[in-house]
Amino acid sequence: MGLEKYRKKSPWILHYNCGSCNGCDIEILAAMSPKYDLERFGILNNGNPKQSDIFLVTGPLTYRSRERLIELYTAMPEPKVVVAVGSCTCTGGVFSDMYNVENGIDSYIPVDVYIPGCAASPELIIDGVVKGLEILEKKTKEIEKPKKLLGKLDEKEETINRTRFAGNILGKDDETSN
């Protein structure tokens, strides 16, 4: 159907902070302020994964936030785009190789756009989101798996089960966090 072209006219974002210093978060919020105005692209920040298309992630992935990242990522319906904002999210940034970070999110979920910068400026963020929209147009509605799930992971599973907590793919209740 010709509805793909409307995906980029009304992208709703979900903004998640994986342990960042809040610098990139402030820049994202500034991008929604009247000076830069993300809403003119129809972008809304709803805070609800079931209703979002773009997953804006900041922060190097700390251990505590791994599970939540994957939970949120699997809760979003396809088609979706992951945008890694700031150099921490891309490669670990100033926190790279520290004992409690995972050096960016792309070993856990597939990332579509990397936005460098520390902190990434609002203009860069807008450019990155617009690039993400072009990628969004081409995506299908097939379920995208995260690359790594916590807990017992059975590689033979073709798809994830959204009725369970992600990472408990075999249905066993693990102890959470760390």
């Binding site: 409307y6 006219k9 000076k35 003119r40 129809g42 609800n48 079931k50 209703q51 319906p77 088609p79």
Partner: protein
């Protein structure tokens, strides 16, 4: 109004109401000195939602949302057909209860909190809606919308009822300061939280229909002076958005007290006044 016009008005209700919502977002943006989305934005949202992979939590939850939308549409049909005002208010109550049951039918804490706040909101604005109808009855002598719309306008004797309606429109259309039941980011939308993709579209469109319901009370106040009625609706639209942009959300317990006290006082002044100057 000819039958064809009424029929079109009813059937196309979600479509022109969407422009209302689009205009609201543009107005909000302009008040905040920014550009804002294009006017057709609700349509783009709808197409995008239709293009997402569908998901649902359980059957009852989804069915309740669908029926909420259709009950509201039937309510709009009854308004345009000119039914009794009290029936319309109670049918709106039925629609709200369907939405509340939808919120309760999933095991999500935000959904429950949203439903409970919506129940409290009903306790807040339902008495005022009924008293507003009684106020309209005192001046116009009837509850039937079709008769009121053909009676000579007596808006000035309903000025306090007008203020009461402005008081409760934010509660019905989920705007500040009375949007605790929806409370974006505080409870992540309340009842809307577990809806995604095409099923969220029904809730989204239902929001427009609630706007028609709320503003139709203002239109009725003007009696048979339809031009003045339209002007009043536009003016109230501006006023409500101004209030939305300049106030903060208040707690649900304060909301119940504020709406009940202010609303009862305003309506009583109007009703007693209309008796004294009858």
């Amino acid at each position: 109004m000819s039958n064809i016009a009424i029929f079109l008005l009813i059937v196309l209700a979600p479509i022109y109401a969407a422009f209302f919502e689009g205009a609201q977002r543009v107005l909000k943006a302009k008040m905040q000195r920014r550009i804002g989305p294009p006017l057709m934005q609700p349509f783009y949202d709808m197409y995008k939602l239709m293009d997402k992979r569908a998901l649902m939590v359980n059957k009852t939850h989804t069915l309740f949302a669908l029926f909420y939308f259709f009950t509201l549409w039937i309510l709009i049909a009854f308004i345009f057909l000119g039914f009794n005002l009290l029936y319309i208010i109670f049918l709106h109550l039925l629609a709200s209860i369907i939405l509340i049951l939808a919120g309760f039918s999933v095991k999500s804490i935000f959904s429950h909190i949203g439903s409970n706040r919506k129940l409290l909101a009903i306790v807040a604005y339902e008495p005022i809606l009924l008293l507003i109808s009684v106020g309209i009855y005192m001046v116009y002598g009837t509850f039937e919308i079709s008769v009121i719309l053909n009676t000579p306008s007596q808006f000035l004797s309903l000025i306090f009822v007008y203020f009461a309606i402005i008081l409760i429109i934010p509660a019905i259309t989920k705007l500040s300061p009375f949007d605790a039941p929806k409370a974006h980011q505080e409870i992540v939308g309340g009842i809307e939280i577990e809806y995604g993709a095409i099923f969220y579209e029904f809730l989204y469109a239902a929001k427009f229909l609630e706007m028609i319901f709320a503003y139709s009370f203002i239109y009725i106040l003007a009696g048979d002076n339809h031009i003045f009625g339209t002007f009043l609706v536009l003016f109230s639209f501006l006023l409500v958005n101004l209030i939305d942009n300049s106030t903060a959300r208040i707690q649900i317990s304060h909301m119940v007290k504020v709406i009940l006290v202010l609303g009862i006082v305003l309506c009583s002044i109007n009703i007693l006044g209309s008796l004294l100057w009858a």
